[in-house]
């Protein structure tokens, strides 16, 4: 029932403002793809264009082998779950779920079967005769998903569906969505600005920035090999620290970079000969650092804030030259704010970004 989706050269303009610029993307049948990006990057617009709620200026969209961007929303074979759920307030749960099927004249016993099946999957069978006003946020969310399931669509579209839930419920619903995807095996597109949702749910993440797709990849590809400084800073919590590079020295194992007055960092990165060091930075994730004794090689970090998360401790500090760096220590760390500690950096885990933001990584897997 589900199908692949091909987005070809999609552009969206409002008068002179370009919202999406020449987007190309192929989503496999049964794949769970997450559009991730900051507010205003066009991710919701792209989803709404697939749904048919937004017109496209140029390009085409295909579901399966059929071009659908000229069809009205209801005939595209997609179902959408809205951020606000968009349940019909004066209809019961059952009527909400059945409405779309009644519109295309599905037989009543088939409607009943599908609604009951979906209600069972989502554990909302006891809510079928209630109206949305008498449901909690989480329950409404399930009804909205149920309304999508009964349509047996070729693809599910989710527009930030978890953002109205509280943190605990969000975590649980996230897990349930992952299970639902496994169970149904349908093509799903999920829009979010929450990287945890993206990392945990996606088969592939599409990072969007400045009207374009910045990177497409599995969650680990995105995390470990960000193609640009934007992706590196956007994905991961706490964000990757960026230290300005003063000088680069080629060594046998890779380059060693000098970080202003703060010291030098040995990396396993091989840079191309034409690499331009102007405005280049080295990016370091907190978990790739370690607090070491003062005899070992590393950078001296003066700690400003200590964030104890239980299993690990995050150390927010500044280097001698005033650059900010976030380091990580074990959960039992004794480091206090105001202290200066020596921090070593794993040579394979650093990333170098040139002046245009283009990333260079160590070839070796971390």
């Amino acid at each position: 029932m589900s199908a692949s989706i091909s987005i070809k050269n999609i552009t969206k303009r409002y008068d002179s403002v370009t919202v999406l610029d020449d987007i190309n993307l192929h989503i496999e049948d049964g794949e769970f793809v997450v559009f991730l990006g900051p507010s205003g990057c066009g991710k919701s617009t792209l989803l709404r264009m697939i749904a048919g709620l937004e017109s496209i200026t140029e390009g085409s969209i295909e579901i399966g082998d059929k071009r659908i961007d000229t069809l009205p929303p209801g005939q595209r074979g997609v179902a959408m779950v809205f951020q606000s759920y968009a349940l019909y307030p004066h209809m019961t749960t059952r009527q909400n779920m059945a409405f779309g099927l009644e519109n295309v004249k599905v037989a009543q016993d088939e409607i009943d079967r599908r609604v009951n099946d979906a209600a069972k999957i989502l554990e909302i069978d006891h809510l079928l005769d209630r109206k949305p006003g008498r449901l909690s946020g989480g329950q409404r969310q399930r009804v909205a998903i149920g309304r999508a399931i009964v349509k047996e669509p070729k693809a599910f579209l989710f527009d930030e569906p978890l953002s109205n839930l509280d943190a605990a419920l969000r975590g649980r619903t996230r897990l349930e969505l992952a299970q639902l995807h496994q169970r149904l095996g349908s093509t799903m597109i999920f829009v979010t600005h929450d990287q945890v949702e993206a990392m945990t749910l996606a088969d592939r993440i599409v990072i969007m920035h400045n009207q374009k797709i910045e990177q497409i990849g599995t969650p680990m590809e995105i995390y470990q090999h960000p193609v640009s400084r934007f992706v590196a800073e956007f994905v991961g919590s706490p964000p990757m620290s960026m230290l300005p590079i003063n000088n680069i020295q080629q060594t046998a194992n890779g380059v060693t970079v000098e970080v202003s007055r703060a010291g030098s960092i040995a990396t396993a990165i091989t840079l191309p000969p034409e690499f331009n060091a102007k405005d280049a930075v080295i990016g370091i994730r907190a978990e790739d650092t370690a607090v070491v004794s003062s005899e070992e090689d590393g950078l001296d970090l003066t700690i400003k804030v200590v964030e104890r998360l239980g299993d690990r401790t995050l150390l927010y500090g500044t280097l001698i030259d005033g650059t900010d760096l976030i380091a990580e220590d074990s959960g039992r760390s004794k480091v206090k704010a105001g202290e200066t500690v020596r921090v070593s950096i794993s040579p394979h885990a650093a990333h170098i970004f040139d002046g245009d933001g283009l990333a260079h990584h160590s070839q070796m897997e971390v």
Binding site: G74, F82, A86, H90, G100, N103
Partner: protein, 293 residues
């Protein structure tokens, strides 16, 4: 603690005194006085004499009052649904953000700000025999002209047309406000649900503005039962009382025949009729909601 709490409750009460005094002086007192007058034989130049329910008996046995009630019921029964349906239709048609629709909204609302004198003047020009707009149109097509203001049946119809033209602005604006409250994503969900235009109207739009439809209907019932100016100025209740509404009857009894007591009694009956009509509507709408739930 309890003492101070009680004392503070008294002082809190002072905050409503300004409103309460206006309410009592301008609403409760005249209402009570009206009821008292209806139980008396009152002459504007003489004294009062308590006569019990005799005024009511006189009003109810007056065939002219019966005719006025019938006229008013017909008028309300036709004009209110027309105002609701036409208002809703205009609101649906103009619920857009284009410049043209904003202009038309203003245009349709413009009639509401005119005084009844001007409205009736305009419609007299339309309906007046020989030189009126309708007469010109009828002549142009070679049809037999109709005396809209002087023919039984047509006179009340003409008053109704003028009234709808005058009053359409408010229902339209209330419906527009209600339509704009409907979340856009409901329509988007309906589009994805393959709903036809008719299904969207009947299953999403109308249920969403149900309470406004009821509000408009009740406001219009209350307003149209009080029809007076248009009938007075366009037809003077004629011909043969066929367009005389209840309020005009009250006016004639009270201020032309100076029988204030009987006029007051007729007023109380009108008050009861309006109250019953409004309550009935309210009851029907809430009962339907209960069965829905």
């Amino acid at each position: 603690m309890a003492e101070s709490y009680r004392r503070s409750r008294w002082t809190n009460g002072l905050f409503v005194v300004p409103y309460l005094s206006v309410f009592l002086t301008l609403l409760v007192f005249p209402l009570g006085w009206g009821i008292w007058l209806s139980l008396n034989k009152v002459d504007l130049f003489g004294g009062e004499r308590f006569i019990g329910l005799k005024n009511y008996a006189r009003v109810l046995s007056d065939p002219i009052f019966g005719q006025a009630v019938k006229n008013t019921l017909i008028f309300v029964g036709v004009s209110v649904p027309t105002l609701v349906i036409l208002g809703l239709f205009l609101a649906l048609a103009l619920n857009k953000t284009t410049k043209g629709s904003s202009f038309l909204r203003g245009l349709f609302f413009a009639s509401s700000i005119l005084s009844v004198t001007i409205v009736t003047l305009i419609w007299r020009i339309v309906f007046i025999p020989n030189d009126g707009l309708m007469a010109l149109i009828f002549n142009y097509f070679g049809w037999q002209p109709i005396g809209f203001l002087s023919t039984t049946g047509w006179s009340l119809f003409s008053v109704g047309v003028a009234t709808v033209w005058w009053c359409i602005g408010l229902p339209m604006m209330l419906f527009l406000a209600a339509l704009q409250q409907i979340p856009k994503d409901l329509y988007e969900a309906a589009a994805l649900d393959n709903a036809s235009r008719w299904r969207v109207l009947t299953r999403i739009t109308l249920p969403s503005i149900k309470s406004t439809i009821m509000l408009v209907a009740i406001i219009q019932v209350v307003m149209q039962f009080q029809l007076f100016g248009q009938a007075q100025l366009m037809t003077n209740g004629g011909p043969a009382g066929s367009s005389r509404p209840i309020v005009m009857y009250i006016y004639e009894i009270g201020f032309l025949r100076w029988d204030i007591g009987m006029g007051a009694a007729a007023s109380q009956i009108l008050f009861l009729i309006i109250l019953c009509a409004a309550m009935l509507q309210y009851w029907v709408s809430t009962r339907k909601e209960e069965t829905d739930a």
